[in-house]
């Protein structure tokens, strides 16, 4: 009786552990609504897509990037010259290495097979590009990566409510790009919280706000309302000279070839592993005697 109870307690402990992980999974939610692309492939594979939320510059080896209907399609939809900037909302699949991922973009059609970045003048469409052909547009994440050793903790002292003009949220110090303008007179109930401080080469202090009513960005604490702060962002290097294909050939035979043999090899490897494992278990593990086996043994005895 005691042994049975001990066994049940152990299984109960395992069950609790199991339930705890499942509950934790459903507790991890996104606080803000994230815009999702109206794309059939994305909708079918949402679970396998990862939020990217970064701007990239087209930088294909041939001077252009190829845009596909989806990561599985074998035909190109069109091409876009290097230098065009696209916002990549999601990448697919999650488990792939960075240079093997696909990104979903919105583009506008200039002429048949030739696409450019959206400028609001035409209707946009969604398409997928190979991330290895895209170069990240220097942004807050790039700035963070380059300067995080220079960040310090914020020790207080900045009063955003003392400014009549809106407080400017820059994408990163010296970017020249204002992400948001926050009029603190309309937001009296919430103060700005700075995650870290940065001092630039001119001695100006900047504070990073990770979240403020769905906005985030860098505030120049030394001059928070000045829209004419100098641009010191690094030049975007390594852009391959733009060009377009001589003829807009929308088939991509290189993708079709080579893919099937790889899939066959992987399937064969897994099937082989399963068969070998099953054989090993059969050879080295004895079957547990069943009730009928034991009663036959007793009869023989």
């Amino acid at each position: 009786m005691k042994m049975k109870l001990k066994g049940m307690v152990k299984y109960a402990a395992a069950l609790l552990l199991c339930l705890a992980t499942l509950i934790m999974t459903y507790s991890v939610v996104l606080a803000d609504v994230i815009w999702e692309p109206n794309d059939s492939f994305y909708k079918k594979h949402t679970d396998d897509c990862e939020y990217e939320d970064r701007t990239y510059i087209a930088n294909g080896e041939k001077g252009y990037i190829t845009v596909y209907k989806d990561p599985k399609s074998k035909e190109a939809e069109g091409y876009s010259e290097n230098g065009n900037t696209y916002f990549v909302s999601f990448v697919y699949p999650k488990s792939a290495p960075e240079d093997k991922k696909w990104g979903i973009i919105e583009y506008q059609v200039e002429e048949k097979g030739i696409f450019t970045e959206p400028d609001g003048s035409k209707k946009t469409k969604t398409g997928w590009v190979k991330m290895e052909e895209m170069m990240v547009n220097y942004d807050h994440y790039s700035f963070y990566s380059d300067h995080r050793e220079e960040f310090n903790d914020y020790s207080g002292g900045f009063d955003p409510f003392s400014y009549e003009d809106p407080i400017l949220f820059w994408t990163f110090p010296g970017s020249g790009v204002i992400g948001s303008r926050i009029d603190m007179n309309n937001n009296q109930d919430m103060d700005l919280n700075f995650s870290y401080l940065y001092t630039d080469d001119e001695g100006q202090e900047w504070g990073y706000v990770g979240y403020f009513y769905a906005s985030s960005g860098w505030v120049c604490l030394s001059d928070p309302t000045n829209e004419k702060l100098p641009v010191t962002a690094p030049n975007q290097e390594d852009l391959i000279k733009p060009s377009l294909p001589a003829s807009v050939d929308l088939s991509d035979n290189d993708r079709a070839e080579g893919e099937t043999p790889v899939a066959v090899i992987i399937i064969a490897l897994v099937v082989g592993l399963v068969v070998i494992t099953a054989v090993l278990i059969r050879i080295f593990w004895k079957k547990k005697p069943t009730a009928s086996d034991s009663s036959e043994t007793q009869k023989d005895a």
Partner: protein, 115 residues
Amino acid sequence: MEPWILATLGISLGLTLLLEGLIALVVGVRDKKDLLLVCLVNVLTNPAVVLCYHLNSAYIGINQVLVKLILEALAVLTEGLYYRKYASGIRYPFWFSVLANGFSFGVGLLLNKLI
């Protein structure tokens, strides 16, 4: 299908072996042969499940949640049958299979959301 799928299969299998081994220890499996059986049974089922999921995603396109549920159910059943047939120290083979797979599935979902 790309060659990096092999890395995915490897990582998934490694994580599963770790997690299901942990559950086996929690419920009191101590026999070395039974613990080895837990590992081998997962080598039998996990790569096949993960591969089938990716094959569906790549070439067929049936609802991913449904496919996940069916594959996990088949894995639970297969593992339960093996534990019932070969394990000497696992008292409730199907319950163990449900717990072990539920735990590794839950942790997998959690890691996917966090990473």
